[in-house]
Amino acid sequence: MAPDLLASLILVLPLASAALCALFLRRQGGLASAVSVTAAAAIAVCSGLLIFGGHREFPASWEWLRFGDFALSIGFKFDDLSALMLFVVSFVGFLIHVFSLGYMHDDPARGRYFGGLSIFMFSMLGIVLADNLLMIFIFWELVGFSSYLLINHWFERPSAAAASKKAFIVNRVGDFGFLLGIILCYWLNGTVNLSELAAKSSAGALVASTAVPLLLFCGALGKSAQMPLHVWLPDAMEGPTPVSALIHAATMVAAGIYMLCRVHVLMVPDALTAIMWVGTITALYAAICAITQRDIKKVLAYSTLSQLGYMVAAFGLGSLAVEHNVTTPGAAALAAGVGAAMFHLTTHAFFKALLFLGSGSVIHGCHHEQDIFKMGGLAKKMPVTFACFTIGVLAIIGMPGLAGFFSKDAILYLAMENNTSVFAVLTITAVLTSFYMVRMWKLTFLGAPRTESSEHAHEGGFTLWAPLVVLAILSIVGATGPLGLFPKLAGSVATLIPVAHGSAHTTILLVSLAVMLTGAAGAWFFYRSSENDALEQASPGFFRVLASKLWIDEAYGYYVAKIQQPFARALSFVEQIALAGFIIRGLAGVAGVIGIGARTLHIGNVHVYVYWFLIGVVLFWSYAMGLF
């Protein structure tokens, strides 16, 4: 099949499935799930054909709208980068669809749920394939909308409704910057087409601007939940667990990093430095927050934030080489960041989807218990989940041989070469990562069952554990290394991954092993199988500081309630008095008074009209005589 047709099919299939579910199958959950999963399978097949069929950079662009000189086109740019992302989205997406079959089996609103999944697949694949920034922006907003729908799936819960609103509004803040960035980019360069921008960049004709990449990064700030717009992601865990896996761990939140990689030619050193620090701080902050969480999904949410911080930091780091070693910015050196960031994005998508689906399996098995202190002893009850989850944990903490090890080492190596302070922070983050993951893993699976629900935990059906097994395999082979699948997927992107050689290689290996073992051992010996948090008992004050998440939510709450609301009320008051009261009502009032006066002249009696006529004649006559 022609590649452009395949790419169109990848977009049309989920849209058709979503339309079908939304319009006709809202009450028929079984049929809706069948349609949606079939569509996801078909997308995976089409993506496979497209990715492994050797199609790259085929021309596919159609004009959609034209205003004067400005044309908005819908088109596909399919290179190694988007091929990699397409693989992640379509295959992980398909596995999560399958998992949803089991997980959402008893949900009364299954039709709506699967319709939401399909519209999400449509929007996300649109971002992946888009060939210009405006098209990315359109699908970007659609992704935000579908995320809103899915977080809000159990809308009767006030917390879910609030979380979906929060996610949507926080994302709007970032998206506003993104839109400004796109407009500025068009204004400066005259195009927002990715291929044209790349061509301009290699010709040296690109207008260098720090504002453009920083504004575009605002979009990533919202979507990839970086500080200070990270607040929505932990709350988004109110959605069903497969949604958290698909949208809030593996794909949508990675869209920010993907978008940065797509526009990497626009980057300048100053912007990259800012991006690097935002990512580094987010990584550390989220890792600190994760230590005190009791909810299994919240731990994973903060861990996602932290890993996203890693990716953003990696993207920012890559180009520091430009600043230090190369005098003119060049794509090759910049791309080092792209390689490491996309590498970690891919492996993270595998193991984090695995961890989330594993937690979904645990939650399902424990009858919707999410508190890890009320679990325990699940290793014997749910052996498949335990095995897969363990692989996920080992992958994220960087056990040699697993996917996370390679990608995290690539980032750490990049940091060590380019910026020692970032390297230090990321190393501490890695210790913390290993600490909180082992804490969660031990409390959930080891020891004795601590409550009724974990006592009666059971393994789910085939659809619940099969995706886990596939993702566990991908978490092992989804990287470089001897078994590595990644170079086959990523093509030229894989060659951009920084690889350490010689003594640097040894150093990185030792550092990475040391941090992993430190964190893991710390958690292993510190936490006992108990219903209470060991850290809370050992040091309540310290625990409270960590558990407060540095009062960022409170600060936003204060800002909204005490600053923004009064300001809005003051503006509303001014509007009511000056605009609505004085100008609008005032003008209408003048016309009304004139109308009332004129109405009294209208008596309905012919005689009176004759008198008016007489007065009129007299006035006219006196005017003609020049009396006034």
Partner: protein, 101 residues
């Protein structure tokens, strides 16, 4: 006593004033209509007088036009009054106040 232009114009103004007073004071639509005709005739008298004293025919030509139009107007006006009477059983203008509201 010589009858000059002033006398004619005075007579014309007097007739006009009587007609106008009739329009103002009377309640019967037919009488008002007659008063209107009186005002019209007052103006034709003035025009004829001007024509006579200027020695030109332009005033007379005006008068012919006015008479022709007045004839048409009488036909239409009387027809309206007849139709009104059939419809409302009255031609008293102070009872004809349906224009209001």
């Amino acid at each position: 006593m010589t009858v000059g232009l002033d006398q004619y114009l005075f007579l014309s103004a007097l007739l006009f004033a009587i007609g106008f007073f009739g329009v103002l004071a009377r309640r019967n639509a037919i009488v008002i209509f007659m008063s209107l005709e009186l005002m019209l005739m007052a103006s034709t008298l003035a025009l004829v007088a001007f024509s006579r004293f200027n020695g030109t025919y332009s005033g007379n030509v005006f008068v012919f036009f006015i008479l022709a139009i007045a004839a048409a107007e009488v036909a239409v006006g009387l027809a309206i009054i007849v139709a009104l009477f059939r419809h409302r059983k009255t031609v008293m203008v102070d009872e004809l106040n349906a224009l209001k509201n």
